[in-house]
């Protein structure tokens, strides 16, 4: 079990290297990067810069697609998703900060497919908390992390990007 603050720079280097290798292996030379609000967008911006892509970054806010709407209601101040390119037949790199249950990614995929049918979706996350409830796995991740039952992790940023691990109230 860990606690405190972690730097994400070394994790980003590892993710970038693995993502480049994977894109070459999958023969993807012009991916479109989409980040999931909020932390995923910060990570996506870093990858976008490092990969020197010409296409703009897309952003997804999956609030309207959550499957726990009936339990937690709708969070006011949802920001609209912004996909400034056609996704039909394109190769998408979908980026989030943390994958835990897999439900956020399921919601993101549902929303993404409302914009069209991409050729492929590659999933990149900074951390894998390994508490999956759905059969969804990241293709590239920075690290796995085992949290105690009362611990939570939060990405702060965008400059610097840091992971804060704390006890829940």
């Amino acid at each position: 079990m860990v606690s405190g603050t972690l730097s994400v720079e070394s994790l980003l280097d590892k993710m970038l290297s693995e993502l480049k290798t994977l894109l070459i292996h999958r023969q993807i030379d012009a991916p479109l990067i989409i980040g999931i609000r909020t932390g995923g967008i910060w990570i996506a911006e870093r990858l976008h810069t490092e990969l020197a892509l010409e296409s703009p970054i897309g952003t997804l806010d999956i609030s309207f697609y959550r499957d726990d709407f009936s339990q937690i209601g709708l969070h006011p101040k949802v920001q609209a998703s912004h996909i400034p390119f056609a996704t039909e037949g394109r190769d998408i790199v979908l980026v989030d900060d943390v994958i835990m249950s897999g439900r956020t990614i399921r919601a993101a995929l549902n929303e993404l497919f409302d914009y069209g049918r991409p050729s492929s979706v590659t999933l990149v996350t900074l951390l894998d908390l390994q508490r999956r409830q759905l059969p969804i796995q990241a293709d590239v991740y920075g690290s796995t992390l085992s949290l105690g039952p009362n611990q939570q992790v939060k990405l702060t940023g965008p400059n610097p990007l840091e992971l804060e691990i704390s006890q829940k109230d």
Partner: protein, 332 residues
């Protein structure tokens, strides 16, 4: 007319969340702000290429219109469809009531179809409240206008429009002009503006179109456009409700326009950056001059756009409130 008891007893669930939306009266500033903020999110979503989200997928919304209104019905229908609900539009005045069915019979029939939400428009004050009291649990009721009582979604779309153009409510002088007597919109606007903390709310109308004791709602009353418009930030024109007038309350439409119609000349008394609103449909040359309705200060079309977003917000919030209450009862 139906009896109206404390609206909050019926509008809110045990967690204080919205489960019916009958009136803006008595709702907290936090809840009205939540409606505005949620609607703001839907405004952005409605501008996207894909305008549909799955929040109410599998739910059935019945638009129960005992009084016809193409514009309001259209925006409620579109709002429900953009939330992925199945929608049934019923014009009751020409169907069941003419066959002798009572309101309760009609509700029971619709409930047997497993409806999840009734959007109710009725010419009698208190009708939506009555229906909310008599529907089975887990059915949300949204008031789409009842008699002279309330039109809360229209008021909230006006609040959203003001918020998007003026930001904070606290410094604003808001002037509401026209047929205050018959206007459910004005009543709902006044309650919402007071709760949201507008600095000053004014009403301007001929004496024959002012309700008794309107001052008790916390407004300043004017019978002259010049003084009522002076330094106003927001000017809200109302439609003349000729269909609700039981006797001749006006000498003529042209006389009304001369004294209370909004022209560019009269608008000069308001602040230079004042915005002009009207719930529609507008009577050009009766309530408002075309040059103003189509002019740079007019937000009339923004109101229509924002109307869909507000109805989406209220529908999703009330359905969420219904489901939360159901879950709480299941757990108890």
């Amino acid at each position: 007319m139906f009896e109206i008891t404390d609206p909050n007893n019926i509008q809110l669930n045990s967690e204080g969340q919205l489960k019916h939306f009958i009136t803006t009266e008595g709702l907290s500033r936090e809840l009205l702000t939540e409606i505005i903020d949620t609607a703001d999110s839907f405004v952005d979503m409605n501008a996207q290429q894909v305008k549909k989200v799955p929040l109410l997928r599998g739910k059935t919304v019945v638009n129960l219109f005992f009084e016809s209104s193409t514009r309001t019905l259209s925006t409620f229908e579109l709002a429900a469809k953009r939330l992925s609900a199945d929608v049934l539009n019923l014009n009751i005045s020409t169907s069941s009531t003419s066959k002798g069915e009572t309101l309760k019979d009609t509700l029971q029939t619709l409930e047997a179809m497993h409806s999840d939400m009734f959007v109710v428009r009725h010419s009698d004050s208190g009708a939506a409240h009555f229906i909310a009291e008599h529907v089975t649990p887990n059915v949300a009721v949204i008031n789409a206008g009842d008699g002279r009582h309330a039109h809360p979604t229209q008021a909230m779309l006006d609040m959203l429009t003001i918020k998007r153009h003026k930001g904070d409510f606290s410094p604003l002088v808001v002037t509401i002009i026209g047929d205050i007597l018959h206007s459910r919109v004005a009543r709902s606007q006044i309650h919402a503006l007071r709760t949201l903390g507008a600095a000053e709310i004014r009403v301007v109308a001929p004496n024959t179109l002012l309700p008794r004791n309107i001052e008790a709602l916390g407004v300043k009353v004017f019978t002259s456009m010049e003084s009522g418009l002076k330094d106003a930030d927001v000017v809200i024109m109302l439609r003349l409700q000729k269909e609700r007038m039981k006797s001749a309350l006006l000498p003529s439409e042209s006389e009304f326009y001369k004294l209370f119609g909004l022209t560019n000349e009269k608008l000069q008394h308001a602040k230079p950056d004042a915005v002009v609103m009207h719930p529609g449909p507008i009577n050009r040359g009766v309530e408002i001059e075309s040059a103003v309705a189509d002019g740079p200060q007019s937000l009339i079309l923004d109101q229509v756009t924002n109307g869909i977003a507000v109805r989406m917000a209220v529908m999703s919030m009330s359905m969420s409130g219904q489901m939360t209450e159901k879950n709480l009862k299941t757990e108890a």
